[in-house]
Amino acid sequence: MAALAIGSVAMAIVGTLLSNMIEQFQTTNDRLDAEAMANRAQTLLQNVFSQAVDVQDTNAGTIPAVINGGAPTPQPGQILSFGVNDNFSFKQISDTPAAWTTLAVFQREGNGGDPGKLTKVGVFYRRPEATNPNTMGMIFVVQSNDAGNPMTPSTAPGLTYSSEYIDRVTLLEMTKHRHPNFDKVVSLDVHVQVRYQMGASVGLSWCPEADITAATGSCKNTVGRKNIDRYFTILLRNNLVHPVTTNMASTAVSSEERVLGDLYFFQASIPPGQ
């Protein structure tokens, strides 16, 4: 009888420990997924934006459709910004009334060979929902030369889960830096916040912290969560500052100028799986 009692107590202790272990592991598992996604956000955005070949700084708060069509006359790409501060900021759901936002559309160098080849890029943000806290914030990156389908959230070719995307995003900020003399973007500061959930028994929430604090819609502060913030700067090294037909501001020299002067970067070749 005594052995049975001791055994029962031991099993209860072991069971409790295992339960706690499982919960901790699930938290860590989710954190590792979030870390991987944060890393991916940096490498993916760095990869596409650093190869952009012609992005102007001016933006009126939306990405005009003319960029989407483009042909036959090339149109400069644009990166979304609000107001006069050259930045896009999503800190709470009301910052973007529409569920989908086009963050950028531009042409990028997309060939490691000779000659180069341009590829159209569309970057889209699908924000979390106040009415459905289970909706993740997601950044989609579409790369396609399908001229028949403009780069809009509803028509961009391949804008599905089969395209490249970053999920778990609860906050996103982008700040452009303009060339001092020309209407071109030189670099882009990015702040991405991704979230992981803690514990096994709690629910999920992907609402921005500001909405959780304000209890917007169904964004209640009832779940365990932690956020990972990733800050990085992308140099638009391939961006055309001025074409060959325009003189430099300080000289009479007629030459093409890019962000790193006379350097042009073809698409880097990365080892498979890296």
């Binding site: 890393n39 991916r40 159209k120 070749s269 990365i270």
Partner: protein, 251 residues
Amino acid sequence: MIAMVLVVAILLLLIISASGVYFEASLKSYRNVNSRLLALQVLQDYAELAQKAHAVYVTYNSTVPAPGGCPVNYVQNPAGLPFCWLNQAGADCVRIPTDSTAANPNLAIANVPFCLTAPVTNAQTIMDMTALYIQPRFTRWQQLQAMGEQFLIDSSHVARVALHKLSGGLDQRAWAQLAAAYHPTMVGAPTNDITLYPCNAGASGDTYCKRCAGAPGTTMDCINLKVCMLISRVCPNPQDWYNQRVGVMNR
């Protein structure tokens, strides 16, 4: 009672074993990201060195009478291409800052030098262009490893309690996307899209599509840079290298 203890012990051993696989995969992912970002930074820094090497050649050869080749203390490399590199040991190095904090003493040395392989004449032809090798000249390659291992240490307190995902492996969706984010196109003849935008295959003044080969003055002078980022410092297969082709536009 003994059987019960044995069962629990075996279960815990299985968990620990499986979690080791899982965290090893996570560490690999972290290393890959580090390698990629560092490699691209190294290649970009070397592109700027190539820009200077090209400027030296152009300046030297624009004097009258044109002397040809490179000035004293410079070496033309690859042969026949307009790039003059400093011919001094350790001259063509770039330094890459890595994370360094008091909490991470393994990262006390905050810079990692990458140098052109000595002697500077070490070159190899790939495709139709000539490449310069860049290799890390490390005394402490462990610094990079430490960055990943620190991540592992941070997570290890729960490694022993893992039960979920007994099969191990990182988020396969993320893995697949990491692989798909890049599109190596260094094999075969690249195509030029002339229907969407005015890519005229290297016509003088062509703003949008660039071409390397061709008559001087109408196209760019290009060079291929490649860097090996494997921890072994050896890249036995062509696909192990990070390749970056850069062009210096003629002015």
